[in-house]
C-alpha cells in the first residue's frame, strides 16, 4: 500500500491494512471501546490519542492521522493496558507495531524525540551488537546541533563525572571498537530477519 492510499471513512480498508502489516494488528477489531487502556496509561496526558481512540480512528479510516500521530511513540511499555484490557488485546505491542509501520512508511513524525532516540539506539546496537553508552549519549546530546549538544552535556556533567569516577563510563569507548565477536554474523542475521519480515508483510 502506498503512502497516499485512498481510504474511505468507516470502511474497513485501513483496518485491513493494519491487520495485514502491523505487528498484532489483527487484534484491533476486537476492541470494545471500554476505555480502560486510556484510563490506565500513566502517560495518558501526553498522548494526543489514547489507544482506545487510535483503535477507533483505525476503524474510521483515519490513515494519515493515525500513522502521522506521535501518540504511539509515547508508549513506555509499562504494560498496564495489556494487563487490564478486558478483551486481552496486546495493546503495547500494537502501539509499537503501529509506530514501526508508520516509521517504515516514512509517515512517522520526523521530530519526535522517541523516534529519533529509537533510531540512534538501533543504529548503535545493530553496528556492534552491544550498546556503546558513550556514543549513544553523545549521539543523543548532539542530535539537535552542536550548540544544543554542549548545553545538554553541561547540564548532565555532574552525572557524567560521577559515572566516570566510579568507572561506569569508559571515556576510551569513543575510540575503541568494542562489540561482539562475530559482528558480520549479526549483520547477516538482522538482514535475513528483515527480509523475512518484508516478505511476510508484503513490503
Amino acid at each position: 500500500m502506498s503512502n497516499t492510499a485512498m481510504v474511505k471513512k468507516y470502511r474497513n480498508d485501513f483496518l485491513r491494512e493494519v491487520e495485514e502489516k502491523v505487528e498484532e494488528g489483527d487484534w484491533v477489531r476486537m476492541c470494545m471501546q471500554c476505555g480502560v487502556c486510556a484510563g490506565s496509561c500513566p502517560l495518558g496526558d501526553a498522548w494526543e490519542h489514547p489507544p482506545q481512540e487510535i483503535f477507533m480512528m483505525i476503524r474510521a479510516g483515519k490513515r494519515e492521522e493515525v500513522l502521522g500521530s506521535d501518540s504511539m511513540w509515547m508508549c513506555t511499555s509499562c504494560y498496564n493496558c495489556i494487563v487490564r484490557c478486558p478483551r486481552e488485546l496486546p495493546i503495547t505491542h500494537i502501539m509499537h507495531g503501529l509506530a514501526n509501520y508508520a516509521h517504515r512508511l516514512g509517515l512517522a513524525p520526523k521530530a519526535n524525540p522517541t523516534r529519533r532516540f529509537a533510531k540512534i539506539f538501533w543504529d548503535n546496537i545493530a553496528t556492534s551488537g552491544r550498546v556503546n553508552e558513550l556514543k549513544l549519549s553523545l549521539g543523543l546530546y548532539f542530535m539537535d546541533g552542536f550548540g544544543n549538544g554542549i548545553k545538554k552535556a553541561l547540564a548532565m556533567k555532574d552525572v557524567g563525572l560521577g559515572l566516570l569516577k566510579t568507572g561506569r563510563l569508559d571515556p576510551m569507548g569513543l575510540f575503541k571498537a568494542g562489540g561482539i565477536k562475530d559482528k558480520s554474523g549479526l549483520q547477516k542475521a538482522l538482514k535475513k530477519a528483515r527480509e523475512i519480515e518484508d516478505t511476510r508483510k508484503g513490503y
Binding site: 474511505k8 471513512k9 468507516y10 470502511r11 474497513n12 483496518l15 477489531r29 476486537m30 470494545m32 471501546q33 482506545q52 481512540e53 477507533m56 480512528m57 476503524r59 474510521a60 478483551r87
Partner: protein
C-alpha cells in the same frame, strides 16, 4: 370444628428465653390475662418431645387454639404445624430477648414486653378460626394461551408436555408470529458464534401433532369472565362465529409490534435502501443463500450501516422512553448475514450508543461478531440521505467526538418494540365516589396523560375483554408493558390466574421469550391446580382463607371493589360486593378499606389485630413507660426486624410489633383504637411503593400510605400531635433502619410527651 375454643399456651424456655425471662410469670399471664385453659412450659418446644406435648393436648385435651410463646412466627414453621387448629405466635426470642440488653436495669421492661406478647397472642387466638377451602371453585385445568408467536407456542407446548390441555388462540391465519419472518435467529447454545435456524416449522409441527393442544386461528377473545379454575371465554372467529370455552388459567403472549420508522424522517425511511431490521430478515431470506441485494437496484450490498435504538431511550415526544434491548444482538446477527452471504469484504458497521449484549451468550456472540470483522462505532446518527447511488449516514462519533459521515449501500434501522396490550384499566377507570380518593385517581390520570402525549401508539383494542369490574384488560406498569414484578414475580399480572409472558412484559429476544413462556406455563398450571382445591396461588400460596363480608352491615360504598389491587371483587346489581375468591390474593386490602368493617377472613380480621393491640397493658401516664405500636408488613418489614434481632440490634422495650398480611389490610380503626387506648406512638411499616414497588400485593403499601395521609384529621379530632403516627416504606434489607425508626419514634414521644388517653 370444635364447638368450644380452648386455648393452649406453650411457653418455650429454650434459646435463652428461660434465662432472660421469668417463665412462671409468663405462665401466669397466659392463664390470668390470656385466659388460656392449658398452659405449659417446655425447655425445648420445637423438639420432637415439645411438639408431641402440644399434639397430645390437641388430640386428648381438646386444645384447638394453640399459642406458641417462643420464637418468631417465621422460625420453626415446620415443627409448629398442626392440623385443624389455629396457631398464634408470641415472639419472645426475636421480638424480646434478642433486641433487649441482658442487664438488671432492663429486666423489668423486658419482662413486660414478653408478658404483652403472650397476652397479644392469646387475644388473637380467641378470635381465630380454622380456615376451610373455598367451595366456590372450578375444576378446570385447561390452559388458554393468547397469541401464537414463539412465546405462545412455547407456553402451549410446555403446558401440554406437563400433561395439561391447551387452547391456543391466534388472531392471524397461521402460527409463528415474528419468528416466522426471521431468516435465522440469535444462537441459544454454546459456542454462541453463528446465527442458527429458527426451527419454526418443527415447532408448529409439534403443536399440530400434540393431541393436547387445540389451535384456534383467525380468532380473538370476545369475553372473559370467571376466575382461576373456572374462566369462561368466548372465542370469536373472523367468520363471525363465537364459541364459549372453559379454561382454568390464561397466558397472555400477545407479543409486540415495531415502532413506526416513518415517524423519524431524518433516518430516510422511504428511500428503498433504508429498511427496518424486520425487513432485512425478509431480504436475507429472499437472497436464498446468495448475496443480499439492495432493494432499489438489486446491486449486491458491499457496505451496510446498522443504526441502533432508533426513536428509543428518549423523553422526546414520539420516541420510546425505553430501550428494546434485543436490537443490538439482532444487528450483530444480521451483520453476520452479510459476512456469510456477501463475503468478508462486505463492510458492516453498527452505530450504537449503548451496546446491550446481555449475558455470557450475548458477550460471546458480540465477540464472534467482532472476530468476523463487524465494526462497532459509538455514535449518534443525525441524518441519512441519498448521495448519488449510495446513502450517506451523518453522525457524531462519540469516541472521536466529531461530526462525521459514512457511505453505505444499505441502511438498517433498529426500531423499538411496543407491547401489544389492551387498554390499561386504570388509565380510564372512572371512580364514582365523591370522596378524596377520586382526587388521587385524577392525579394519576394526569400523570398518565403526560405519558399519553408521548405518542407511542398503544393499541386500544381490548385483548382479553375481561368481564371484570376493574376494566377489560391487564393493568400496565409503564410504557404500556403489563404490570408484573420483573424480579420477584415475573409472570404474575394483577389479575389472578392470568399470566403475561414475552415482550408484553418487557422487551426481549427469542431466548428470553422462551424462558418466559415456560415460566408462565408453570405458573398457570399452578394457579389452576390451586384453584381446584380452593386455595390461593400467589403470593400466599396454599392459603385456604378468603375474605367474606357481612351483607347486613355493608353500605355499598364500593371502596373494596375499587381498591382491590387485583380486580377480584365485582358488584352485583344492588351494588354489593361480589367476591370472586379464586381471583383473590388474600392480602386483605378490602378489609383495610372497609369503613364499616364487615370484611374478614377466618384467621385474619379487624378483631384478630384489634384485640391484640387492646390486650397490651398500658401503664399509667406517670409511669414513664410509653407504648408504641408497630404494624409491620409480614413480608418485608417483619423479617427485617427479625434479622435485626439476629444481629442483636437493640430497640425500645416500649414497642409492640404486630405483623399484618399487607399494609393495605390496615384498617384505620386500629389506629383510632390504639390512640384511644393510650398508645403514645404508632408506626406503620410497609413495602416500597411506586413504579419500582416491592409490595407483594402491588398496591397494598401505596393504598395504605394514601389512607394514612389522611390520618391527621383523626389526630386533630383527638387533639393529638401528628408526629404520633408515622408511615414508612421499609425494605427487607433495612436491618439497621427498621429498629432505628422505632427508636426515633421513642425519642419523639419522649420529646412531645405521653398520650393523654391513658386510663
Amino acid at each position: 370444628m370444635a364447638d368450644e375454643k380452648k386455648i393452649g399456651a406453650y411457653i418455650c424456655t429454650g434459646c435463652g428465653i428461660g434465662d432472660r425471662l421469668d417463665a412462671k410469670q409468663l405462665e401466669m399471664t397466659a392463664q390470668r390475662d390470656g385466659k388460656a385453659q392449658v398452659v405449659k412450659t417446655h425447655e425445648f418446644l420445637c423438639s420432637a418431645d415439645g411438639v408431641k406435648t402440644i399434639q397430645d393436648d390437641i388430640d386428648n385435651d381438646g386444645v384447638n387454639r394453640v399459642v406458641i410463646c417462643a420464637c418468631s412466627r417465621r422460625a420453626k414453621t415446620d415443627a409448629f404445624a398442626f392440623d385443624g387448629v389455629t396457631l398464634s405466635r408470641a415472639n419472645l426470642r426475636e421480638g424480646v430477648i434478642w433486641v433487649r440488653p441482658d442487664s438488671d436495669e432492663a429486666q423489668e421492661t423486658t419482662q413486660e414486653m414478653a408478658d404483652d406478647y403472650v397476652r397479644m397472642a392469646c387475644a388473637e387466638a380467641k378470635y381465630l378460626d380454622v380456615p376451610e377451602p373455598n367451595e366456590n371453585h372450578g375444576n378446570n385445568l385447561r390452559i388458554l394461551v393468547v397469541g401464537g408467536g414463539i412465546t405462545g407456542m412455547t407456553a402451549a407446548l410446555e403446558s401440554a408436555r406437563a400433561g395439561y390441555d391447551v387452547l391456543l388462540v391466534e388472531k392471524g391465519p397461521e402460527l409463528g408470529g415474528w419468528m416466522r419472518k426471521l431468516h435465522k435467529r440469535i444462537p441459544d447454545r454454546a459456542p454462541f458464534d453463528e446465527p442458527m435456524d429458527t426451527g419454526i416449522d418443527d415447532l408448529v409441527a409439534a403443536i399440530e401433532a400434540s393431541d393436547k393442544i387445540t389451535v384456534a386461528l383467525n380468532s380473538r377473545i370476545a369475553r372473559t369472565s370467571g376466575a382461576p379454575g373456572q374462566f369462561s371465554v368466548d372465542i370469536a372467529t373472523e367468520s363471525g362465529s363465537t364459541t364459549t370455552e372453559n379454561v382454568g388459567a390464561i397466558i397472555q403472549a400477545t407479543g409486540f409490534k415495531l415502532h413506526d420508522p416513518a415517524a423519524f424522517p431524518e433516518f430516510g425511511y422511504g428511500n428503498a435502501d433504508v429498511i427496518t431490521s424486520a425487513e432485512l430478515e425478509e431480504l436475507a431470506s429472499a437472497a436464498d443463500g446468495g448475496p443480499i441485494k439492495r432493494p432499489s437496484d438489486g446491486k449486491e450490498v458491499k457496505a451496510v450501516a446498522f443504526i441502533q435504538d432508533v426513536g428509543q431511550n428518549s423523553t422526546e415526544v414520539g420516541k420510546l422512553r425505553y430501550d428494546s434491548g434485543a436490537g443490538d444482538l439482532v444487528a450483530i446477527k444480521q451483520a453476520m448475514y452479510f459476512k456469510h452471504h456477501n463475503g468478508d469484504d462486505c463492510d458492516t458497521t453498527i452505530i450504537y450508543d449503548n451496546l446491550r449484549t446481555p449475558g455470557t451468550a450475548g458477550e460471546d456472540f458480540y465477540r464472534s461478531g467482532q472476530r468476523k470483522e463487524v465494526i462497532f462505532t459509538k455514535g449518534a446518527v443525525s441524518k441519512v440521505d441519498a448521495a448519488g447511488d449510495t446513502l450517506k449516514v451523518s453522525f457524531h462519533d462519540k469516541i472521536l467526538d466529531e461530526d462525521t459521515e459514512m457511505e453505505a449501500d444499505l441502511v438498517v434501522l433498529d426500531m423499538g418494540m411496543i407491547p401489544v396490550t389492551g387498554p390499561d384499566p386504570y388509565a380510564t377507570l372512572e371512580i364514582d365516589t365523591d370522596d378524596d380518593e377520586a382526587e388521587v385517581v385524577e392525579e394519576e390520570e394526569k400523570e398518565d396523560g403526560v405519558e399519553a402525549e408521548n405518542p407511542v401508539e398503544v393499541s386500544v383494542e381490548s385483548i382479553l375483554n375481561l368481564d371484570y369490574r376493574q376494566g377489560t384488560d391487564l393493568p400496565q406498569l409503564k410504557f404500556g408493558f403489563l404490570d408484573s414484578h420483573f424480579i420477584c414475580f415475573p409472570y404474575e399480572t394483577r389479575r389472578t390466574g392470568i399470566y403475561a409472558a414475552g415482550p408484553v412484559r418487557r422487551p426481549m429476544d427469542i431466548g428470553q421469550a422462551i424462558d418466559d413462556a415456560t415460566g408462565a406455563a408453570l405458573k398457570a398450571i399452578q394457579a389452576a391446580e390451586n384453584a381446584q382445591v380452593g386455595r390461593a396461588a400467589h403470593p400466599r400460596s396454599g392459603d385456604l382463607s378468603f375474605p367474606t363480608f357481612r351483607k347486613e352491615g355493608c353500605t355499598q360504598c364500593k371502596r373494596c371493589t375499587v381498591e382491590c389491587p387485583f380486580g377480584a371483587i365485582d358488584e352485583d346489581e344492588e351494588g354489593y360486593p361480589q367476591y370472586n375468591e379464586g381471583r383473590c390474593r388474600r392480602c386483605g386490602t378490602c378489609m383495610g378499606a372497609c369503613p364499616v368493617r364487615v370484611i374478614s377472613f377466618k384467621n385474619y380480621s379487624v378483631e384478630t389485630i384489634g384485640q391484640q393491640l387492646k390486650a397490651v397493658d398500658i401503664p399509667d401516664e406517670f409511669d414513664e413507660k410509653p407504648r408504641l405500636m408497630v404494624l409491620a408488613c409480614e413480608n418485608d418489614a417483619y423479617p427485617a426486624l427479625d434479622m435485626a434481632a439476629m444481629n442483636r440490634i437493640e430497640y425500645s422495650a416500649f414497642v409492640r410489633v404486630i405483623p399484618v398480611r399487607c399494609l393495605g389490610s390496615v384498617n384505620t380503626i386500629w389506629i383510632t383504637d390504639a390512640l384511644n387506648s393510650g398508645y403514645d406512638g404508632i408506626i406503620l411499616m410497609g413495602c416500597k411503593k411506586g413504579d419500582d414497588y416491592q409490595c407483594h400485593f402491588v398496591k397494598g403499601s401505596e393504598i395504605a400510605h394514601m389512607r394514612m395521609s389522611k390520618i391527621d384529621d383523626t389526630l386533630n379530632q383527638l387533639n393529638l400531635e401528628k408526629e404520633r403516627v408515622a408511615t414508612y416504606e421499609v425494605e427487607i434489607t433495612d436491618i439497621e433502619r427498621a429498629p432505628k425508626l422505632i427508636n426515633d419514634m421513642a425519642a419523639t414521644i419522649e420529646e412531645i410527651g405521653m398520650s393523654p388517653f391513658k386510663f
